[in-house]
Amino acid sequence: MHDPTHDLMDDGARLAAADRSARVRHADRAARFVADAGQTDWHDAVLWRIRGKRDAAAGRVEGWERLRALASEIKEHTLSRLDEYLAAFEEAATANGAQVHWAADADAHNRIVRDLLRARGVRRVVKSKSMLTEECGLNPYLEARGFKVVDTDLGERIVQLREEPPSHLVAPAIHVRKEEIAALFHEKLGTPADADDPRLLAAAMREDLRARFLAADAAITGVNFAVASTGALVLVTNEGNADLGAHLAPAHIACMGIEKLIPKPEHLGVFLRLLARSATGQPLSVYTSYFRRPAPGRELHVVLVDNGRSRRLAQPDFRAALKCIRCGACLNTCPVYRRSGGHSYGATPSGPIGAILAPGMDMKRYASLPFASSLCGSCSDVCPVKIDIHAQLHRWRQVAAREGYVSWPKRWGMRVAGWIVRSPRRYRLAGRLVRGWLRHAPRRLRYGPWNAWGRQRELPRAPDRSFGEWYAAERGKK
């Protein structure tokens, strides 16, 4: 049967694909963000406060570092036997009455969800926050096929109404000021024009979404942890939206990456102690729900998605990224993320973790992301599962350079620099030339378009002599 809407959708998909294939230039996007200095300072401060809360919460836990090590080791173990744990989870979940589906990539995932919805005559879908479905582009896919999809996490709903992606793993609308939310809710929910009290705004959304929860035909959620031995899914929220959606709708579809598995409930304790403390500084999120069997008369579907994860598992340099539990601590601490905003990464997740995940998905598009870092290592220091994020950023830079994704001035610059520092004589000569040039060349030349560093800053005064020259002279005095 020819479905006339089908061609239209494919056009939409093609357009979306064309947009996706464009290269993300982090520096250009960041420049747009920092053009508003007030916004940049505010964003920086808000995120730094969350980092502070995380530090305080971590400091109150006896043996925090041991806990991080445990979490890392549990994940490494699970990943090293992932095929066995996947099979065990499938068996247990099936015995519990859930239906398990397997998706090799984003496309297959979206098709499975679409088929489940269509076969049940679903029109209205409520969703709770899921980074996986963002990764797969599920919302636009379903909307193009006539489903009404409503995100129910407050922050996620705000960015959905603004028609933009989330900018932060845990706080999707962290880049939006309350005045903007007031204007948005005035337009969409009919709140008073200048009412920007967060309590009033949240209450308006509570009313609006309650009606949608009650009317939904199906709920789609993410998964924080899947327990292999019991076949249970663990979902964590503060708002209670995942539970409202999943318990009210006749069908609950839970979508998860294959790396979300943990062996047993006892391991859950380790991750739950780390997750909320790392994310927001809470000792535990408000709701930690343990879905073992579907409620009588209801359906529970689990979609296990690979979408590049098995490929990453085969890369020793990069497999540790699969340990990620999506807490967002690396975003909050990152000096680049805090001052460039999540949208500058053009990827979900954004921030340091996004900058090591995205190049593995699409190097051509995301080659600039590993360079969006000072390599200070703060991300690795706060990571609750000890991912070597900054080291991976550095390794991704090397891959980008090998595969020709680095601009020719940088490539040649590095080549020349390498040639110079290989020889002490050349190094000394180059030092003298540069010091002379810095002191005597006209400003117009020193601050030319090639001097990106000098765009917002004054270059330091060049010293009269190098350390080597000074040392030789001073020692000569003795």
């Binding site: 990943l79 996947l86 076969a119 304790g269 069997r293 085969a314």
Partner: protein, 212 residues
């Protein structure tokens, strides 16, 4: 949906089931081939010593209050009185437990009726001192959605059923036989608007823990 479309959708579902089993084999094979070297599973150490008895109770109370819950110590048998005192204006108070004299929560109640429920009172199975969470098993809820739809939630907890930390708490899940359960730490909340804390996001607007 028309009958024909539904039929096609079901056909597609069958085809996708076949594709699914191919996808399953492909994914498991790719994971096996990835060759991640074996890493041993560590044994869990680090259970927190928070004392026992009163010290543990005090720690639980402080944690629950920090999570914006109200905690009260009540006499055994004082739950009804405490609920009436805390919610004097409540038109409807229900519970899934026959232990108290509240209206019985109907497991088959319409969701819209549950959403109008002022106060739901549930028996908590155990509490966690390090974070103030209370484990709520499905059997104590009435229906799974009730503790999320009710405007206010009250959890009654035996003060001797407090464990120190999440290690001890999750150990109990090893033998948990019900279909669903949840740790509840405070009333539903959000900070999605400029990181300002707002209590009563989608779920209950308040959480009261009554320690008996």
């Amino acid at each position: 949906m028309s009958r024909k479309r539904r039929h096609n959708a079901l056909g597609r579902a069958e085809r996708s089931a076949q594709n699914g089993s191919r996808a399953r084999e492909a994914i498991l094979e790719a994971v096996r081939r990835a060759g991640a070297p074996f890493a041993p599973l560590p044994s869990i150490v680090g259970a927190t010593d928070m004392g026992t008895g009163e010290a543990l109770t005090a720690r639980f109370m402080a944690s629950a209050q920090a999570a914006s819950a109200t905690v009260r110590i009540v006499e055994a048998g004082g739950v009804e009185a405490a609920v009436r005192e805390a919610f004097p204006g409540a038109a409807s108070v229900a519970s899934a437990s026959p232990a108290w004299g509240f209206e019985q929560a109907d497991p088959a109640a319409e969701a819209s009726a549950l959403a109008r429920l002022d106060v739901l009172v549930c028996p908590g199975a155990f509490g966690v001192a390090e974070n103030g969470a209370v484990w709520l098993a499905e059997s104590g809820m009435g229906s799974r959605v009730a503790p999320f739809l009710a405007q206010h939630l009250v959890l009654a907890l035996d003060h001797s059923a407090i464990v120190p930390d999440m290690h001890a708490a999750c150990d109990r899940l090893e033998t948990f036989g019900e279909g669903y359960g949840a740790f509840v730490a405070g009333p539903s909340k959000t900070a999605d608007i400029e990181q300002t804390l707002v209590i009563g996001a989608h779920g209950p607007r308040s959480l009261t823990v009554l320690l008996t």
